[in-house]
């Protein structure tokens, strides 16, 4: 096992600003609850008189629903309610889902309960509430549905062909705002263009054009979806659930149920992983409707097979990449065409694929086409840097091939062509300050890169090393915090962002830094939609950036209010009072925050404030990864034996959680690269609907993941924060593919690079 190194590299001396709290590694506020089993997740919620719901799911990938007979199910003792799509209002509108993009609510509602057709195996058809989950499950089996089977459309490229079976007869390809005349499975065609690619390719000394495919994969969070809904007789609906965004659940419930926002409260519980998959609602509306019907709280949880069959996977894709370079290794033109499976309803992250495919490079002549395509698979949802991993797997593998052809060092090629401040990027203004080149420098200087690889493993195994870069743009969006100064000088901090990986800590740390108090004196809570301002989802690597910014602004606002009260007390203008950390002073008089807090309490005053921000200065994140693999040419099995992730975090608020995001993203990327996939048969039946058949990585599949945090501050945040959560999943498939080539001389252009495919490629190459 390699020696483990973790490093932090500030970009310049000036960037290494000295902070009191930021950059330290305190224990997270919710830590004790989570190591003692006390933390309450969605499935742990228990209410008096609560009953249990289960869902009937489609056995077919594509079929018309002829009839549904619920009478036998309703007759079972203990069954209280059976609902179908008839129990949901018919809705047509679009709504924004933050990182999840824009969604047609008719589609969202139709995904929650199928209407005329089922569009994938696992599509919900009906739901049952009963006095026990076992009775509900029995009743589900007694619902009789008559289907008329239709041909399933499972392949993204076949789905685009003329004359193929259509999933929706009212779907028309939209290109630059124009809708096509004939219906199609292609929902949208996106185009990003700059310069003149024909001239660029004409000027090239070398052109490499390759096609790539990637399998449908799942976010694989360990906690299945869940919801508890209580609909009171006065119309007040409260929903407890594990979600990445309580307000986004509220919006979706409002739209699907046509129920006023003011009558819906969403209480976000602790959440057991999301990675983008816990943005859309699935069970929440069903539990709500059944609760309304029977007047009791209804709890629903999915089992693992339901999670895999019924919730958002990330798309399988086809990506073509063509790049031209001159004799010096400068890119003259770059072109890509990519088609993403949206699943049963439009809305794949192909736009983000377009935005990221050539993002690490300064490209002057470029054209990128993206297609959003419906197929008979579950409606895709966001998954960590949605769209980027598949796109950059293709481009970073082509770049490696070019480096080999030219005999150029892969770090040097990337640095020579590397995107930096002011360079063009797709669908966004030119780059602000970014840390792409700094990551490459840190990669080159790393112990891993400088340690030669022993090429021979044991038992005839062969080793290789590869690198790949990755980019994710990160987002801002709306975040809120509110806070109160308590009588003992501590602060109660209320946050709208659900905490999936330590954001209570990273937000409280920024507040403590800005307010001049100790981290331990800040008591953060994630609260419900009635108790804090609107906040977008925890996703898009935005929470530590945007909600952190809200906390910083909140600290400033609380200081202003304290000065206002002191101004009255001291009879001086508020702006004559200086705040130095937790000490407020004017003309020789001074009070500490603790003294002020006690004074306010004595006088019956409460210092409190609420802040909402919608920042636009989110800074994109670059990463470069180094992978060493060992390939068994006999079996095709690939083991990752050493791995280093280099990433620009802007500023690491809590370095342990930044490292954790990097390591977690890398291991998801390793799973995606080597063994995760949805295996479908020709009828569209998922054949591996369990954790170990789907095959997420275990402790035995991964080495320790070395991290190097580069800090190039984001000018759009007072402490320089960029998002960190998403980009680490982007480089692993390409880094591993490039390492496999280095080991055994074959290019794998189809994910996952499973033993069967590697073995076949090695054998084919040997003739």
């Amino acid at each position: 096992m390699a020696t483990k190194t973790d490093e932090m590299i500030p970009a310049t001396e000036a960037d290494a600003a000295v902070y009191r709290v930021i950059g330290t590694r305190p224990v997270r506020p919710d830590g004790v609850d989570k190591v003692t089993g006390r933390a309450i997740y969605g499935a742990d919620v228990v209410l008096p008189r609560m009953v249990h719901g289960k869902v009937l799911r489609s056995p077919y990938a594509h079929a018309r629903i002829v009839s549904i007979d619920t009478s036998e199910a309703e007759a079972i003792p203990g069954v209280l309610s059976v609902i179908t799509s008839k129990d949901l209002p018919s809705v047509q509108a679009t709504a924004k889902l933050g990182e999840g993009g824009e969604v047609n609510l008719g589609h969202l509602s139709g995904n929650v309960l199928a209407r005329e057709k089922v569009l994938y195996q696992g599509h919900a058809i009906a739901a049952v509430a009963a006095t026990s989950p076992h009775i509900a499950a029995e009743a589900v089996r007694k619902i009789r549905v008559q289907f008329e089977e239709l041909p399933p459309v499972m392949d993204v490229r076949l789905a685009m062909e003329p004359g193929v079976t259509l999933l929706h007869d009212d779907l028309f390809t939209e290109t630059a705002g124009e809708k096509a005349a004939q219906p199609s499975n292609v929902a949208a065609h996106l185009i990003a263009e700059e310069g003149d690619i024909e001239a660029g390719f004409a000027a090239a000394h070398l052109i490499v054009e390759r096609e790539f495919t990637t399998a449908t994969v799942h976010q694989g969070y360990i906690e299945p979806q869940n919801a508890v809904a209580e609909w009171r007789a006065d119309g007040q609906l409260t929903v407890w659930c594990s979600t990445q965004g309580a307000f986004v659940v509220r919006s979706q419930l409002h739209s699907i149920l046509q129920h006023p926002i003011s009558q819906i409260k969403v209480v976000p519980t602790e959440i057991g992983g999301g990675f983008g998959g816990k943005i859309p609602v699935y069970l929440e509306p069903l539990a709500a409707v059944m609760s309304r019907k029977i007047g009791r709280p209804v709890k629903m949880t999915m089992d693992r097979a339901e999670v895999l069959m019924g919730t958002g996977p990330t798309p399988g894709t086809y990506v073509m990449v063509k790049m031209g370079v001159d004799r010096d290794g400068m890119i003259t033109a770059a072109q890509s065409s990519m088609a993403f499976e949206a699943g049963a309803f439009p809305g794949s992250p192909v736009g983000a694929g377009v935005m990221t495919v050539f993002a690490p490079y300064a490209v002057k002549n470029v054209r990128i086409d993206g297609y959003d395509v419906v197929v008979n698979k579950p409606k895709s949802a966001a998954y960590r840097a949605p769209g980027a991993t598949m796109a950059e797997y293709a481009s970073e593998t082509v770049v490696d091939e070019i480096c080999r052809e030219l005999g150029m060092d892969p770090v040097e090629f990337r640095r020579k062509n590397g995107a930096k401040e002011g360079d063009w990027r797709a669908f966004a203004p030119p780059y602000p300050r970014v840390g792409n080149l700094e990551c490459l420098d840190a990669t080159e200087a790393s112990a891993h890169w400088r340690t030669p690889l022993e090429r021979q493993g044991a038992d005839g195994k062969l080793r290789g090393r590869g690198i790949a870069s990755g980019y994710w743009f990160n987002v801002g969006l709306t975040s809120s915090c509110s806070g109160r100064l308590n009588g003992d000088g501590t602060v109660t901090l209320l946050e709208g962002s659900t905490d999936i990986g330590g954001t209570r800590a990273s937000i409280a740390m920024q507040f403590a830094e800005a307010f001049g108090i100790e981290y331990e004196a800040v008591h953060p809570s994630v609260v419900d939609t009635d108790s804090v301002g609107f906040t977008e989802v925890t996703g898009g690597s935005r929470t530590t950036y945007a909600t952190g910014l809200a906390a910083v602004e909140l600290a400033k606002e609380l200081q202003i209010r304290i000065k206002g009260e002191l101004a009255k007390l001291w009879e001086v203008p508020a702006d004559a009072i200086a705040a130095n950390g937790a000490v407020f002073a004017n003309n020789g008089k001074s009070l500490t925050l603790k003294e002020i807090a006690a004074l306010m309490e004595e006088n019956g005053l409460q210092i409190q404030a609420a802040i909402t921000v919608s920042p636009t200065g989110s800074g994109g994140a670059f990463a470069t990864h180094i992978a060493d693999v060992e390939v068994d040419p006999e079996t095709g099995k690939v083991d990752v034996i050493r791995y280093t992730a280099v990433q620009d975090a802007g500023k690491a608020i809590h370095p342990s959680y930044v490292e954790g995001q990097m390591q977690g993203g890398v291991v998801q990327g390793i799973g995606w690269a080597l063994h995760e996939e949805y295996v479908y048969d020709e009828k569209g039946q998922l054949r591996n609907g369990s954790f170990l058949d789907y095959r997420i990585p275990t402790t035995l599949d991964t080495p320790l993941i070395e991290t190097i945090i580069v800090e190039v501050p984001n000018p759009g945040h007072p402490y320089g924060v960029r998002g960190v959560g998403e980009v680490p999943i982007v480089p692993p498939p390409a880094a591993i593919a490039n390492a496999i080539f280095d080991a055994v001389g074959v290019r794998l252009r189809d994910l996952p690079m499973s033993p069967r495919k590697v073995c076949a490629a090695v054998q084919a190459a040997a003739g």
Partner: protein
């Protein structure tokens, strides 16, 4: 001897976290359901309900089991330890190391990892990295990439050895 009562439920007597406990359950209920739904011990989590993920790990007469694939009625006379039985009232070094080393992100798999790692350290106080990985291969975590979990268990073992 377990007795069958009306409504098809069975009476079971067991010891849970060193306290005597009597409960009624249907023969088809798993130990995980009994712990969570009947005894209010929601520390054990359901991730897969088929023994794949280890989030529901508990100790049954000292043996590490997936409580989702043990029936409640099989627990007559058994002594069970759940995550709630570890570190009450003060945290044990394993829990402290999980916190200090940031070995959890969402925390849903953490109870299973803690119970599993406790079982490992109870019988092997000086495990190698590979032994830790081998033992914990039945516990899935999707957030951490396992790195910080492995280190937390290593640190807990080190602490126990220096203190012991």
């Amino acid at each position: 001897m377990a007795a069958t009562l009306m409504h098809g439920k069975v009476a079971v007597s067991a010891t849970v976290n060193e306290e005597p406990v009597d409960f009624l359950c249907e023969p088809r209920e798993s130990l995980l359901e009994v712990l969570r739904e009947r005894l209010g011990l929601t520390g054990a989590k359901e991730g897969c309900n088929n023994g794949n993920c280890g989030a529901c790990n508990v100790l049954m007469d000292g043996q590490l089991v997936n409580s989702c694939v043990v029936l409640g009625v099989e627990c007559q006379g058994a002594s069970l330890t759940t995550v709630e039985g570890i570190g009450t009232p003060a945290l044990v070094p394993l829990q402290e190391c999980f916190l200090q080393d940031a070995a959890l992100q969402c925390g849903i798999c953490t109870p299973g990892f803690l119970v599993s790692a406790k079982a490992l350290l109870d019988h092997n106080p000086n495990p190698s990295e590979h032994e830790i990985r081998w033992w914990l291969a039945g516990n899935l975590c999707r957030c951490t990439g396992y790195d910080k979990i492995i280190r937390a268990v290593q640190h807990a073992a080190e602490q126990a050895r220096t203190e012991g």
